[in-house]
């Protein structure tokens, strides 16, 4: 199976879906002539032309709302936000419209749209450009939120997201675009709403998503040498959450560490921890541990910014605490 980067897997997904359905178009800042700020859309303008790959002015609220309107009128827009930090300017259209129009219209309207772009801590970018904002979106009913970790899942889930009739928030990890993984040449989809066991284990469950999978794997490798078998559950979709997969792994190992790059208050991680503690209490042999970002804005200094984020070391410490 060929190994490609996450960036290439996303590019393949976009190409395949745009070839499959002429109602799919890509819109965002620098997606066309510049080939994407992170080069995810490289070459798409040449293939599909300027009617389907559109550079926008720097006006997140405007082009996000335009995407919502186009979706209501039967198209399938893929809206690229240069980073999720800038998506905050467009939150009204996401939260008040994309997420609510189906409900408020009594089910008459569909808003099949994908909002995608890099999210999460990067490097040396300080507080405004290095944030993990998944919890903002996960909070809101009416949205589907996807945060994959491997090249295979990125591709399969983006294709499913584009075919979905719901507004999908598709979170990519800024630092992971160059990471490689195996992706088959033949077409495939990954189902939305299904977590994936990335590593089987019997002693403890690490429940993670997005690039924290990498940290969990590093931690599991180290602990395996000590005979500790870590099960790793990659949530992949954050809303709707795969409650069954969470229940299965906790029933199996009776211990859980939840990892999330969000800040800890009212986050994906704190919700999953709460869910395990309240619904799976009888299966727990120890309190659930949450590894999140520190409760501070991101600093510029490299040592400090690394200290602010989840890491394999932090995961190992949390595991040791409850084993």
């Amino acid at each position: 199976m060929p190994e490609i980067t996450i960036r290439e897997s996303l590019n393949q997904a976009l190409q395949e879906e745009m070839k499959r359905d002429k109602n799919v178009f890509l819109i965002g800042e620098e997606v066309a002539e510049y080939n994407g700020a992170y080069k995810v859309s490289k070459g798409l303008l040449d293939i599909f032309g300027k009617e389907r790959v559109l550079d926008t002015p720097i006006a997140e609220l405007g082009f996000t709302g335009l995407g919502v309107g186009a979706a209501l009128a039967g198209l399938r827009p893929v809206v690229e936000w240069m980073t999720f930090n800038f998506a905050l300017l467009a939150m009204d259209q996401v939260v008040n419209n994309a997420a609510k129009l189906r409900y408020m219209s009594g089910g008459q309207l569909s808003c099949p749209i994908v909002f995608r772009g890099p999210n999460g801590p990067a490097e040396y970018l300080s507080s405004q450009h290095s944030q993990a904002l998944q919890s903002y979106f996960v909070h809101c009913p009416g949205l589907v939120v996807i945060a994959p970790a491997t090249a295979y899942d990125y591709k399969g889930l983006l294709k499913s997201a584009i075919r979905s009739d719901d507004p999908v928030i598709f979170l990519e990890s800024e630092l992971a675009y160059n990471w490689k993984g195996e992706v088959p040449e033949e077409e495939y989809l990954v189902e939305i709403g299904k977590a994936d066991i990335k590593r089987e284990g019997s002693d403890i469950s690490v429940i993670c998503h997005s690039k924290t999978l990498q940290y969990a794997v590093e931690a599991a490798d180290i602990l395996e040498k000590e005979g500790i078998m870590v099960e790793i559950v990659d949530l992949r979709t954050l809303r709707p959450l795969d409650y069954d997969a969470i229940a299965q792994t906790v029933r199996k190992t009776n211990r859980a560490v939840v990892v999330d790059e969000s800040w800890p208050m009212c986050s994906v991680g704190s919700y999953v921890s709460h869910h395990i503690s309240s619904h799976l209490f009888d299966f727990l042999d120890a309190p659930v541990q949450l590894i999140s970002s520190e409760d501070v804005p991101m600093p510029y200094n490299h040592s400090l910014e690394l200290a602010a984020q989840p890491s394999s070391q932090k995961i190992i410490s949390a595991i040791r605490k409850i084993l």
Partner: protein, 400 residues
């Protein structure tokens, strides 16, 4: 307050005499706006104004900020003159239905049969009837703000399902999940009913984008009040729609107040239809209390945009007889101001004109009033009897 009222009266008189003003500016667009308005060409609709004036430059690529006044590209035609008597009667009846629906909604709100926020459009009926009357709803779309009952009715949603929605019933056009501010009907190409000031503007721009993308010769009508002009969403949308020449007609329903704030306290732009000029968008102002004038301009603009897709900004000066919402006693305006506008009542003035044109008699008008009142009463009674949504409905329609 008296000064303000006088000022409005003057604006209104000017408007009546000069329904159309040209839009242009000088070297420095923003700072010379007011100066340019002093020089504006005041033309009289009755003296056969042939074209709408335009600010669209010949070439888009110029970096010159000078906006030149050029000959308008929209040909104005007296469509109402050619319209059938039946069409005019149906639009008059529609205005009457809107008025009676709003009055009844106001009454029921006070009885607490309707809850939440309820924004009525009594006084603004001519804008709904004349603009939507110029559309072809098999391919055109309508989006508006929370003051949406009139537009919904004009798009063809039944009085009964509007009442049912206001009462939160399962039979309502949004299954009782939207309420007054969120009427929808996909069947009638009416896409709401938006509760956030100005949020429908980018969405409508996107609907127009889809029309162009799919090569449908449709136009999108997007309504908002004078208060929405200061939102970033408005400016971002205008820029995008002109950049890509999307077939969207933005309609400012200028009722002189954004909630309780008079327009001149909120807008640095005096003639709101000029707000598109920084984006080279053609604009014009119409007397939104006058069905005929509004219809003629809209029929002209719709025909032109359908043929040559691009955005147009129209300011329809109008007036709401009720407050901003039912909880607003409208103490910020004088009774005289309200009375002055009621003198120009859109239904009354259309009736007068139709009688003068021998298309309507006083008795026919009275009969129409009686029939409409009965229709509203029947619709309201039937809607009252319909059921609340089932509890399970709480969890449906969240995602596909």
């Amino acid at each position: 307050m008296y000064v303000m009222a006088t000022c409005f009266a003057m604006i209104y008189l000017t408007l009546m005499n000069s329904s159309l003003n040209s839009v242009f500016s000088t070297d420095s667009v923003s700072f010379n706006m007011r100066l340019s308005q002093k020089e504006k060409v005041v033309s009289d609709i009755k003296s056969n104004t042939p074209v709408l004036n335009s600010v669209a430059p010949k070439t888009k690529k110029t970096r010159d900020t000078t906006v030149k006044k050029i000959a308008g590209s929209i040909e104005y035609k007296d469509f109402a003159k050619k319209a059938s008597r039946n069409f005019l009667l149906s639009q008059l009846r529609l205005m009457m239905r809107i008025r009676k629906l709003e009055d009844k909604a106001g009454y029921d709100y006070r009885l607490r049969k309707i809850g939440g926020f309820c924004h009525l459009c009594a006084g603004q009926e001519a804008v709904c009837a004349a603009t939507i009357g110029a559309l072809d709803l098999t391919k055109d779309y309508v989006l508006t703000s929370y003051r949406d009952h009139g537009h919904a009715l004009a798009c063809g949603i039944s009085t009964r399902s509007i009442f049912a929605e206001l009462y939160g019933k399962a039979e309502g056009c949004s299954k009782g999940k939207g309420g007054s501010m969120h009427l929808f009907s996909v069947e009638n190409n009416f896409l709401g009913g938006n509760g956030i000031v100005g949020a429908q503007i980018p969405i409508a721009t996107g609907v127009a984008f889809a029309q162009k993308y799919k090569n449908v010769a449709g136009v999108t009508l997007c309504y908002f009040g004078d208060g929405a002009l200061q939102q970033g969403a408005f400016h971002e949308s205008l820029n995008l729609s002109k950049l890509w020449n999307l077939p969207v007609i933005y309609v400012i329903e200028n009722n002189y107040y954004g909630m309780g704030t008079a327009v001149q306290r909120a807008s640095s732009v005096e003639d709101l239809y000029t707000a598109g000029s920084p984006y080279q968008i053609e604009g014009c102002g119409v007397n939104g209390m006058d069905f005929y004038e509004t219809y003629n301009y809209f029929a002209s603009i719709v025909a032109s945009v359908r043929k040559n897709p691009r955005p147009v900004l129209v300011e329809a000066k109008t007036y709401r007889y009720y407050g901003h919402s039912m909880s607003d006693p409208a103490n910020y305006r004088s009774k005289k101001e309200l009375d002055d506008f009621k003198e120009k009542d859109p239904i009354f003035s259309m009736k007068k004109k139709m009688i003068k044109d021998k298309q309507l008699t006083e008795n026919e008008f009275k009969a129409m009033e009686k029939e409409t009142a009965e229709e509203i009463k029947k619709a309201q009674e039937e809607a009252s009897k319909s059921h609340d949504p089932k509890l399970e409905e709480l969890y449906t329609d969240v995602i596909a």
